[in-house]
Symmetry: C2
Subunit: 361 residues, 2 copies
């Protein structure tokens, strides 16, 4: 495990599989379809760990990522990103091979996409649960009905499936109670929308997708499917939000120590923005220094953290009493702030077994 | 040029070659060795554009990047990153092939590295000009002499070459005058150090490396070499610092527009943290919307900028009067905040000619 010479992403397979199993069992117990998001790990090999828990359908964030997972045997894929009309041809090709679901958020997009398709796709309309990113406001019933009507009456290749909601404002929560409040407001939005829609006896499928709500929520009434992604690894941001404990974090980055500065209580490491990304919490924390204990990582001292990063350099602020633990030429373990971005940069997972798992690109 | 379907990095070869030529000519005029940093572009093909300007020696930020450029014919390479002892073997292999220069900042690192080498390397001692990142304080004459003495008397494979200084605190400047002040303080540090060092009639080689000072400085007395990197593309951060004008920026990202929200003055694009990184300026600007005019990009309205990003989503805030310019399914051009990180994420450069240039990994 400890012969890495450059910043290296470690993956604890046991913690990761436990995270997958916990969410799969929760979905099963609540009779929710589990369509996990693959954007966090981006690996067909890790995708198999979901198959081991009975997962049949997955979610991705781009057409090219859908193509990769389709090529690796997945037959039911949702692209949880608003339809990019410039990829209509690629969407059509994919729709010929698998059961493909996309997000269509306007009649105009539906019109242009439909005219480009020769194969059938399913479409969710995305609801903006409050993150003000993409999707239609769930209170904008008139516009939602207009899109549904357009898809159902005017499109020949698009089948309206229901609603997709990613309440990304759950990332602003700082406790389980805070997450639950946002989750309950999403459930209420969906309930109200169902009541207000004039769609006869149609029963739209509802999928929600954020890791905080899927991790902490217990009431999923009115919801049919969940598609969280980050929960597979979790990270310090999720821990801060209230989605997980430190012991649930499945990845860490091993970095060589390149210099010690006891006179200013700092440690220089090989590990910077091209390894961690520039995501931070608490104003200037780009990661906590961690240790291994009882089969998971722990953070012995939250005052010892990655405080500044440039392209390859990282500077850790370290308490004086901790200094003697570290030596130039040794490795130091950093838990990442945002595992999706860190994994996207480092591309390869090193398991305890010595095996290496690669991402798709 | 306009058939991109996903976020795509465009490179203007003319602007880029002009940036290279300007810096090469400045170095020549000032009798400075020009050892450009390759970490910004990371491409052997673009490296050839430096050869076209007579460049013989280059700078890189990692051992593996040095290996790549050595494999592509570069025979004189400086790794401007503190020696990572865990890569001693790789350093030794490289030293057998090329003239290799590294940074050695302590006697202990020199001792361990020397014992691992069977080939000769040159070493700079890094000076911390004020960025408080890595290197020795130029006023810590005693420690600097100790490292020089150790390398010269106790190491058989390391030859002490001189000093390397990256005054990265120039990034906090906000005007050409601010940059010049930092530059002059670096020159003064080096001058004082030379006077205070007891090294007989040895004449250490001095290399400085940041884009702001190399772009704006006019006095380089006492300096032997420069190794800037970012200037090849520049970016909005460099423009804000005062290193360049918008018209010097050589890269831009073309992003598909996926939705328009005139009611909240926002545009949703396909383009997020895995394309731009999470570097920002002015609290929440992840890039300006640009247009093409007179063979370079311009920023028509600084109130139209990329304000929020998540993994693949970007949200642009747009002035009401600009809205009619944009349509779903069209492309929008974004100038990046930090070209090094954006290029590192996007990996490929699309030229106006239609040619595509790839990075090394």
């Amino acid at each position: 495990m400890n012969d890495f010479s450059v910043p290296t992403l470690q993956l604890d397979e046991t913690i990761c599989r436990t995270n997958i199993r916990r969410m799969a069992q929760k979905a099963q117990k609540l009779q929710l379809e589990f369509k996990p998001h693959m954007k966090t790990h981006q690996s067909a090999e890790i995708g198999k760990w979901f198959r081991d828990e009975g997962v049949q359908a997955i979610t991705v964030s781009s057409v090219s990522m859908a193509r990769y997972f389709a090529h690796n045997g997945w037959q039911d894929i949702t692209i949880a990103f608003p339809c990019n009309l410039r990829e209509s041809e690629a969407i059509d090709e994919l729709a010929a091979q698998i059961r493909l679901t996309i997000l269509v958020n306007s009649a105009e997009t539906a019109r242009q996409l439909d005219s480009a398709l020769s194969n059938n796709v399913q479409a969710y309309i995305e609801l903006d649960a409050g993150a003000t990113r993409t999707g239609l406001s769930p209170t904008n019933v008139e516009e939602i009905e207009r899109v549904i009507y357009f898809i159902q009456k005017r499109c020949s290749r698009i089948e309206w499936l229901g609603f997709y909601s990613h309440p990304g404002h759950s990332y602003s929560a700082r406790s389980k109670d805070g997450i639950r409040q946002i989750h309950q407001s999403t459930l209420a939005q969906v309930k109200d929308l169902r009541q207000n829609l004039s769609i006869g006896d149609q029963s739209p499928d509802i999928c929600i997708g954020d890791t905080p709500c899927c991790s902490v929520g217990t009431d999923f009434s009115g919801i049919d499917a969940i598609s969280p992604g980050n929960f597979i690894f979790y990270d310090l941001m999720q821990q801060q939000i209230g989605s997980c404990n430190i012991s649930n974090i499945a990845i860490a980055v091993q970095c060589p120590i390149i210099d010690l500065f006891p006179e200013r209580n700092e440690i220089a490491i090989y590990g910077g923005a091209i390894h961690f990304s520039k995501e931070y919490i608490n104003d200037s924390c780009f990661g906590y220094v961690a240790e291994r204990s009882e089969n998971h990582w722990t953070v012995p001292n939250r005052s010892t953290f990655l405080q500044r990063i440039s392209q390859e350099h990282g500077i850790i602020t370290c308490q004086p009493e901790d200094f003697e633990r570290y030596s130039v030429g040794e490795l130091i373990t950093i838990l990442p702030i945002h595992s999706c971005l860190t994994a996207n940069l480092l591309k390869q997972y090193h398991l305890q077994s010595g095996n290496i798992i690669s991402q798709w690109k």
